[in-house]
Amino acid sequence: MIDLAQFYDIRFLIELGAFSLLAVLILGFSILTVWSRNMVHAALYLLGAFASVAMLYVSLNASFVGVAQVLVYIGAVGVLILFAVMLTRRTLVEEESHG
């Protein structure tokens, strides 16, 4: 049950706005990751989703988990994925965007 009175509290509105923005970002990036036909674009969208999740952690006052998310998932896993994509066959990547 939502207490309507708290909608007049600006702090609640700020929190709600931040959460909604991050939720839209996470969902949007995740869907784009799956739908993208270009592998490098998919990897970059995945990095965006990771970054949004890190921001969500920070907004929940769990800044250590947020920083660990950036360090492990963007800094290590994400760069590793980019590295792996660069080593795969270029024809798959080329036909969509370049040209």
Partner: protein, 348 residues
Amino acid sequence: MELLSAITDFAAREPKIFAVILGLIGAAVLASVINVAAMAVVWLERKVMGDLQARYGPNRVGGRWGILQLGADAIKLFTKEDIIPRGADKSVYVWAPIVASATTMLVAGAIPFGAVIIDGREIPLVVANMDISALYVEAALSLMAIGAFMAGYSSNNKYSMLGAFRGVARMIAYEVPMGVCVISVAVMAHSLNLVEIVNAQQSIWFAVAQPLGFVIFAICLITDLGRMPFDQTEAEEEIIAGYNTEYSGIRFGLLYFQEYNMMLLGSILLVLLFLGGWNGPVIPVISFISPMIWFFMKLLIVLVALIWIRVSLVRFRIDQVTDLGWKVLLPLSLVNFVWAVAVGLYFA
């Protein structure tokens, strides 16, 4: 006065919202100050390089020291034509400089830029004073390769792509020893907060307590900044200009400034972690800013040392660089970590 009392009133009533507003103002000030400071660093580099190579450097615009040269360069970059090559991956191409400069702003947010003494209390000048700021800065530094990768991949140019390859390979190799060095410092200081780390160095600098870690961190820092002995990502003789070959106008300007922003922030990080930050004897008459004076003296020495290294050493091959990272620096940084734990336990 009325305005001031109204502001303090508001701060007392709504501390969280006041903190948000203060943070936004701090971010805006930071973003402008850091870019102007980077321009000063570019000027310093050109001038010092000129001295070291027995020539003048900029000396026409703005008096005999050429102080306004960088302003003229910035105006030139703003007004030049912005060319996006045909066949480029346009959205990634446009976003790459934005991601690159956003990374520098992320780092700048958590780094203390010195301290001032008010009423006998040291107040560090930092936008976000977090408990884990050293780890946060390390995480933000690891994002640097992504901006360079986006620029290199999207340009649709083999030289740019080679620069991006080299950048990512190098970053993977050097991020690990750098992180281990930061953790060694944190073990000795009993904190991951950069301000606490500086306070822990009041009796002895960490450069003295763990000289091996200092050397490894300095080498990794030069590599991360992509400066001379390690600038394989933009080696002019081999791959034109690496990942920013195709960029022009203000997009190139953003990538270029990002490098110098990072040089400034990396030097500040080295001063904070290993050279005692703003610690130093209090200067009597101007005790208010004496920490700032010590801080900037150390910063200037580190910056000039970086420029000196750039003009005196030659470039390594990329395989030599990755070999050095994985086979030499990583084991040595682990040795340094064991040393830090042992010394930390002995003196605890």
